[in-house]
């Protein structure tokens, strides 16, 4: 990075740190913060969509759809996350490849399952063997997002399902009395009001999601916790220009600060959101807002 870094042993302390903290390994560490933030930014809305679909399905009038919604939340919530991450991602990947195999190589004679191996034709591999490494990484990242979305979507579905039931019956009856159809009642009365009831549960989920990202390394995506361990661990002077002892404590303290800031920021946003959603609601929060406006 800096010119004076060519001989780290001769450096005085400040410059040593400047060089140490700007080597390639640290750059990968800083980049992984971006990975985590992008993952959160994509996963949260996708999981919310899964949750909304799950909750809507769970209160459908059509029995098979209701089963689907209830089954989704019950099964996913019941399976440990780590099992999901070890098994499900590989299964998902194989499912995609199997489908592509059926389409692209209809005259393939060999069986796909040979003992333990899962073999599809070259054209069906996802990503292709010839693809550059960044495509492989993006694909892994995409699988991670999908898995996170499915897992957290199930929890969100349960929260939203409860929130939908918490909207006062009188509201829905009034809507019906005004001549709204069921669909209109759902979109115009139920959904706008349920968010307030869903918010505490959803904010919990968000904070759990923020801290669940170390599971990423199981999928080959290198996140901040992986790099903190890797960088903080003891390195033999033979293999590095910057030998140091076990510094994991300092790296993890750094992560602690990062996570605290993230949590603090989330809390502020959520508090504002709660206040906003409380307006006009027949709740204590709504009442307080009304009085404040009057005073």
């Amino acid at each position: 990075m800096f010119e004076f870094c060519s001989d780290p042993e001769a450096l005085e302390r400040l410059r040593w740190f400047a060089c140490y903290l700007s080597n390639g390994k640290h750059m990968a560490f800083y980049a992984s913060f971006g990975t985590v933030m992008v993952l959160l930014a994509i996963t949260a809305p996708v999981a919310m969509a899964f949750g909304f679909a799950g909750a809507s399905a769970a209160r459908s009038r059509i029995l098979p759809i209701r089963w689907l919604g209830k089954g989704y939340t019950a099964i996913v919530r019941g399976v440990p996350d780590i099992v999901f991450f070890l098994f499900f991602v590989i299964a998902l990947d194989q499912a995609f490849e199997w489908m592509r195999h059926q389409i692209k190589c209809p005259d393939w004679a060999d069986p796909i399952r040979q003992g333990n191996d899962f073999i599809v034709c070259g054209a069906a591999k996802l990503p292709l063997n010839t693809a550059p490494q960044w495509i492989h990484e993006t694909y892994g990242f995409f699988l991670a997002v999908l898995t996170f979305a499915i897992v957290f979507g199930a929890f969100a579905a349960n929260v939203l399902f409860g929130a939908m039931r918490a909207v006062p019956m009188a509201q829905l009856e009034t809507a019906a009395a005004y001549g709204m159809s069921e669909r209109q009642t759902f979109w115009r009365v139920l959904v706008p009001q349920m968010w307030l009831y869903a918010l505490p549960g959803l904010s919990n989920l968000w904070l759990i999601l923020v801290k669940a990202t170390p599971l990423l390394f199981l999928l080959g995506v290198e996140d901040i916790v992986y790099w903190a361990r890797e960088l903080g661990g003891f390195v033999n002077p033979r293999f590095t220009d910057y030998p140091h002892g076990d510094w994991r404590l300092f790296y993890f303290l750094g992560l602690l600060v990062f996570y605290l800031f993230l949590t603090w920021g989330s809390e502020r946003v959520l508090a504002r959101l709660t206040k906003r959603l409380s307006h006009g609601q027949a709740t204590m929060g709504g009442e307080a807002a009304r009085r404040e406006a009057q005073a």
């Binding site: 390994k25 590989i90 333990n116 073999i119 990503p127 199981l218 033979r238 220009d241």
Partner: protein, 239 residues
Amino acid sequence: MKKLVLTTAAMALMAGTALADGHAVVRLGTEGAYAPWNFVNDAGEIDGFERELGDELCTRAELTCEWVKNDWDSIIPNLLSGNYDAIIAGMSITAEREEVIDFTQAYTPPDPSAYVALDASVDLENGVIAAQTSTIQASFIADKGWTLIEFASPEDTVAAVRNGEADAVLADKSFLDTVAGTDGLVMLERMEAIGGGVGMGLRESDADLRAKFDAAISDMKADGTLNTMIAKWEVASQW
């Protein structure tokens, strides 16, 4: 979201246009946390004995190779599902693993495993021994019926001894050589002869690729370059 859609579209496009050829690029999977075998260097790249060996083997077999880092825990499942084509991660050849994957011939001879502890007079049988999960050392301790604690990474097993959580750690001698002598860690005289040499792991259905790597390893053994490389990185005894 937009980014996601874009990359998915890009992937689909590439998948459609690129020609499929069995092993145009051979992807090598490694752990990147097991110096001197394989580790991540200051520049953030995979380095070590197996990096150098793998690159040399690929040159000799006229293959284009690419390196992939993968957690030890999921290194075999990800090979089987085709995320990479070979494991080159200091993996000892054992009968248990042979049932699931295939190995090339060994590129390092069978070497004893060693113990490292804070105190040379530690009582192994009644102490707590640390080892990495799913390694020959972990199953060795388990078979002996001693108290075993397992860790996901090699670094953690040594850290457990340093902070007193475990009394000793059992691992490949070459790995422990890199930590013995630091922070009061000493290597015990006692060694355990376990493992049958280290080889590359491949899918059982990938006989062609295995033959290519096998030939390249024989080649390197014959002209002595493998021994030179082993000596340079101090990973094992000579052939």
